[in-house]
């Protein structure tokens, strides 16, 4: 079986742990509980006819990625960069963060994700997308589970 390390990163309160819990356990809680350091778990998915073990690292949110300990990123094949679509400050550092991650992990697959879709109206969603400097790979709702399995599946397919 192929084993791939995937990092969930982004600013604090954007829903990384909710995405982690929704993907691994199909659970969601409305209550915000901050993460410190890193939580590690794994799930096996099938991508392109192969079983892929995704080792998911849910790391504490930081305002900029250069504040995250580099040891966490060691050997990562995939990065899921999460933003909160309802809080513009969480996508303000997108360009510099992605540039930093690309330099730190050349060749890693990076997915840019806008989360908390359920909090926005259609108009607000459109407005948020216009204010984000890069194209989103997925618009998710960890609350409803919308697009969460597809996000990991697409990433796994890219990694095999």
């Amino acid at each position: 079986m192929i084993s791939k390390k995937v990092i969930l990163t982004g600013s604090f309160g954007v829903g990384k742990t909710s995405i982690f819990n929704q993907f691994l356990f199909q659970k969601f809680s409305d209550k915000y509980l901050t993460t410190i350091g890193v939580k590690v778990n794994k799930k096996t998915v099938e991508a392109k006819g192969q079983e892929v073990s995704l080792l998911v690292w849910d790391i504490a949110g930081e305002v900029t990625q250069d504040k995250v300990p580099t040891s966490y990123f060691l050997g990562a094949s995939g990065i899921i960069y999460v933003m909160d679509l309802s809080r513009p400050l969480t996508f303000e550092k997108l360009d510099s963060d992605i540039a930093y991650l690309e330099e730190l992990l050349p060749g890693a697959a990076i997915k840019i994700v806008g989360n908390k879709k359920d909090l926005l109206s259609k108009e607000e969603l459109l407005e948020a997308q216009q204010n984000i400097s890069k194209k989103l790979d997925a618009i998710t709702s960890a609350k409803t589970g919308e697009n969460i399995p597809d996000l990991f599946l697409n990433l796994a397919e890219e990694l095999v």
């Binding site: 084993s3 791939k4 390390k5 604090f12 309160g13 209550k31 915000y32 509980l33 901050t34 410190i36 350091g37 890193v38 939580k39 590690v40 778990n41 794994k42 073990s53 080792l55 504490a60 949110g61 300990p69 040891s71 966490y72 060691l74 050997g75 309802s86 809080r87 513009p88 400050l89 909090l119």
Partner: protein, 351 residues
């Protein structure tokens, strides 16, 4: 003092050393934290997903040592928060890995409380800023999607939730938003939030510095009350001391000052004349642990509805509860039948 110096210099921690052979199997361990006997000779990654990626990554890398801080893993024998250090070592010609585990669960749980408060305050500030720059400032529902509505909830219900730890800062801010944001509350809330961030940061610095000394408690508290009272002319204060409080106690003065400052904090809803009283007592728990008890009673309003005043008090109490829990104390809140007074009992542990 940095978190690292705080961890390594001032707190007791457990330390375990585990030797992993060149096939990734657990070879030997000192078992100070967990009993490794059932894992000896077995590949660690089968029980411990962290190593499924990290052992290979580390062995492939040029580094001889790597450190992972604040790690929480799905391994039943390690239920807390740990620092892991991996080192490459040669044992009889075999390329082994030394895995060191440092148990910092207590200190990281403290850190978690502070980070939770800081992040919640920052997220709330971001929502408030977004609201202020929005063209839809007349939209009553702006915050409803992010904060729980408390329109039909009584103050006594919220106090009960707070007692049962079902209440957090977001909930207390919800009360504020429901009651105050439409009028003038937003600016005041922002000021209050940034003030609280300063208070919390100072509290953490002080906790790390941990400067205990012998204090004449009644003189010291009376001087603090007088100092804070100068800025709050619309408030009537009374202070009393129960019998049995030792004249001198071994305390960190700045921590006490921080609690009193937050307890006495006056919200925008308390600009009118309000009554507050502080009574101090000394108690011992069943296990014999001494506590200094701050019994703080403050007037709300003699109506059962929530007001911006009660919202302000709820924010304050929520913060205090987190801070006092962090130093091993507790907080109890009561509201009288007429919902005119809230009483906060803060149990401050003594050395």
């Amino acid at each position: 003092m940095t978190l690292n110096r705080h961890k390594y210099n001032t707190r007791f921690h457990k330390h375990q050393i585990v030797l992993i052979d060149d096939k990734g199997r657990l070879f030997e361990s000192c078992d100070s934290i967990f009993d490794s006997s059932e894992y000896i000779g077995l590949p660690l990654e089968d029980h411990f997903y962290f190593f499924e990626s990290e052992l290979v990554n580390f062995q492939k890398s040029a580094a001889t040592k790597t450190k992972f801080e604040k790690v929480k893993v799905n391994f039943k024998s390690l239920p807390g928060y740990y620092d892991f250090v991996l080192s490459k070592i040669d044992v009889n010609g075999q390329n082994c890995v030394l895995w060191e585990i440092f148990d910092y669960t207590t200190i990281y749980n403290e850190y978690l409380i502070i980070q939770q408060l800081r992040n919640e305050i920052s997220i709330i500030e971001q929502y408030v800023s977004k609201y202020q720059s929005s063209k839809k400032q007349d939209d009553d529902n702006f915050f409803q999607s992010n904060f729980r509505s408390t329109k039909n909830i009584k103050l006594s219900d919220l106090i009960k939730e707070l007692e049962e730890s079902k209440f957090d800062l977001f909930s207390s801010i919800s009360v504020w938003i429901d009651k105050a944001y439409i009028e003038k509350g937003i600016t005041e809330l922002k000021e209050c939030m940034s003030g609280l961030i300063d208070e919390i940061n100072f509290f953490v610095q002080q906790l790390k510095a941990s400067n205990y000394e012998e204090v004449n408690i009644s003189d010291y508290v009376s001087s603090l009350i007088a100092k804070n009272n100068n800025d709050q002319t619309a408030t009537i204060y009374s202070t009393s001391y129960a019998e049995g409080i030792p004249k001198k106690l071994f305390l960190d003065k700045k921590i006490i000052e921080k609690f009193i400052r937050i307890l006495m904090m006056q919200g925008p809803g308390q600009e009118q004349l309000v009554e507050k009283s502080l009574r101090m007592a000394y108690e011992k728990s069943f296990e014999g642990i001494p506590f200094l008890v701050f019994n703080f009673k403050e007037q709300v309003e003699s109506v059962s509805n929530l007001t911006s005043t009660s919202a302000c008090i709820l924010i304050k109490i929520t913060i205090l509860k987190s801070l006092v829990n962090m130093i091993g104390g507790t907080l109890k809140v009561k509201i009288d039948e007429n919902e005119a007074y809230i009483t906060t009992d803060l149990f401050f542990p003594l050395k």
